[in-house]
């Protein structure tokens, strides 16, 4: 407002010195006019987006599945420097907010993204930056664990997008109707995922153990590039009893990841990929969204067998911090142009046992930018 007032004063004084000509009157409306037009355009785009999302929501309530619709805009997203945008966003949100302004900013955030402020651990003015507020902890007892010992609990606050059993050749997970991605692409080709050869789909022998162990010995490069025909995950099937669940975290949700069970984390993989947005619209329009984006995969064993968590970053929430490995840095600026880098791996000690975490223990968190 002060800028506009100053600008008006400047243009008025210039207009008076020019004798109040018509052209200066035109300049007078130029900035406010452009601002109003931009705001109007953004408003219309936002309204259209909300209308589209509402239609999708209504369709889902009627049982109609949203289908994959390749979008030209999604293709152009690849041209944007999303990593730089993400890092810039991280820089902005790590700026300290004046104490008096903090409650207003966080209340506005909560109103926009439906955050429950009653369960926030600290008073609002205790969070110096928006980033700190975003990765807030909760008051003691806000997330009680289900007492049933024979249950698997949710690792995050969020919305269930997909779940089910992984079956069939290639062990595919459906992104949306009409488009799927393979679990081995998500977790990495050297995953310990229990697979069996396609010809032995109903087999209950020791074969899967051998094959998964053999796969784990091969590096990502050797499997995917140097010898693509040597081991083809697409020709293998998952063992019976392999399930998946995809949970989407909205910006207002609590963004820390907890262990869904007593679990031994044996290996961590960090895939440095793109940073596309991961909202529902993006899932409908960007092919291979979850296997293109930067992610951290934790893999290990729980009493019932294999378990893995893939934490997938996005443009606004680009970095993932591991409580069990604080030195891991994600969303780093990259000099290389090559996108398809092999994942960086770390085996946790002691070898073969890994790091033990209890049900409900915090294992990671998503950070802004």
């Amino acid at each position: 407002t002060s800028f506009v007032k100053k600008f008006r004063r400047a243009t008025q004084s210039r207009a008076s010195s020019n004798g109040g000509s018509g052209s200066s009157q035109g300049h007078y409306f130029l900035v406010p006019g452009a601002t109003v037009a931009t705001l109007l355009m953004l408003g219309v785009l936002h309204a259209r987006r909300m209308y589209d999302d509402k239609k999708v929501e209504e369709a889902r309530e009627k049982g109609i599945e949203s289908e994959f619709q390749p979008d030209i805009k999604a293709t152009y997203l690849q041209l944007l420097p999303l990593r730089s945008i993400s890092r810039c966003w991280g820089y902005l949100t790590s700026m300290e907010i004046p104490v008096w302004l903090r409650p207003h900013v966080y209340r506005a955030w909560a109103r926009a993204f439906h955050t429950n402020l009653e369960e926030v651990a600290l008073p609002l003015d205790g969070y110096a930056t928006l980033q700190e507020f975003f990765v807030r902890t909760l008051k003691e007892g806000c997330r009680p664990l289900d007492p049933d010992p024979q249950c698997l609990v949710s690792p995050v606050d969020g919305t269930i997008l997909r779940f089910g059993e992984i079956k069939g050749a290639g062990a595919m997970i459906e992104q949306v109707k009409g488009f799927s991605y393979s679990v081995s692409s998500l977790l990495g080709a050297s995953s310990y995922l229990p697979m069996v050869a396609a010809v032995d789909t109903d087999g209950e022998t020791g074969e899967p153990e051998n094959s998964s162990r053999e796969n784990s010995k091969r590096s990502w490069w050797r499997v995917s590039l140097a010898s693509p025909k040597f081991w083809d995950p697409m020709s293998a099937c998952p063992m019976k009893g392999l399930f998946y669940c995809v949970i989407y975290l909205k910006p207002g949700d609590y963004h820390r990841i907890h262990s869904p069970a007593d679990w031994n984390i044996v290996i961590r993989r960090h895939f440095s990929g793109h940073l596309f947005p991961v909202n529902e619209r993006a899932a409908r329009t960007i092919r291979n969204l979850y296997i293109e984006n930067e992610r951290v995969v934790l893999e290990g064993l729980w009493p019932e067998g294999f378990m893995a968590i893939a934490a997938i970053g996005a443009t606004n929430i680009g970095s993932i911090k591991l409580s069990i490995e604080p030195e891991l840095q994600t969303n780093r600026q990259r000099g290389k142009l090559l996108q398809a880098e092999p994942p960086e791996e770390r085996l946790y000690e002691p070898e073969g046992v890994g790091m033990t975490v209890k049900k409900g223990d915090e294992v990671a968190s998503f950070n802004m930018g």
């Binding site: 889902r60 997330r143 009680p144 664990l145 289900d146 049933d148 024979q150 249950c151 698997l152 609990v153 949710s154 690792p155 995050v156 606050d157 969020g158 919305t159 269930i160 997008l161 779940f163 089910g164 997970i173 679990v183 977790l187 995922l193 229990p194 209950e204 063992m239 019976k240 009893g241 392999l242 399930f243 998946y244 669940c245 995809v246 949970i247 989407y248 975290l249 609590y254 963004h255 820390r256 990841i257 907890h258 869904p260 069970a261 991961v278 979850y290 729980w302 019932e304 067998g305 294999f306 378990m307 893995a308 968590i309 893939a310 934490a311 997938i312 970053g313 996005a314 929430i317 409900g360």
Partner: protein
């Protein structure tokens, strides 16, 4: 941001009578610590 959880869980076969079942629906809002699924000896 998104989290994908992949896990093995009990299924009915000749050695075991317990079976894992999800107790969620698509579109459900879930919170940390709430059950995703359970298995029980049938």
């Amino acid at each position: 941001s998104t989290v994908v959880l992949i896990f093995q869980a009990p299924v009915k076969n000749k050695d075991s009578s317990s079976e894992f079942k999800f107790c969620i629906q698509r579109g459900d809002k879930i919170r940390v610590g709430e059950a995703l699924g359970r298995w029980q000896d049938s």
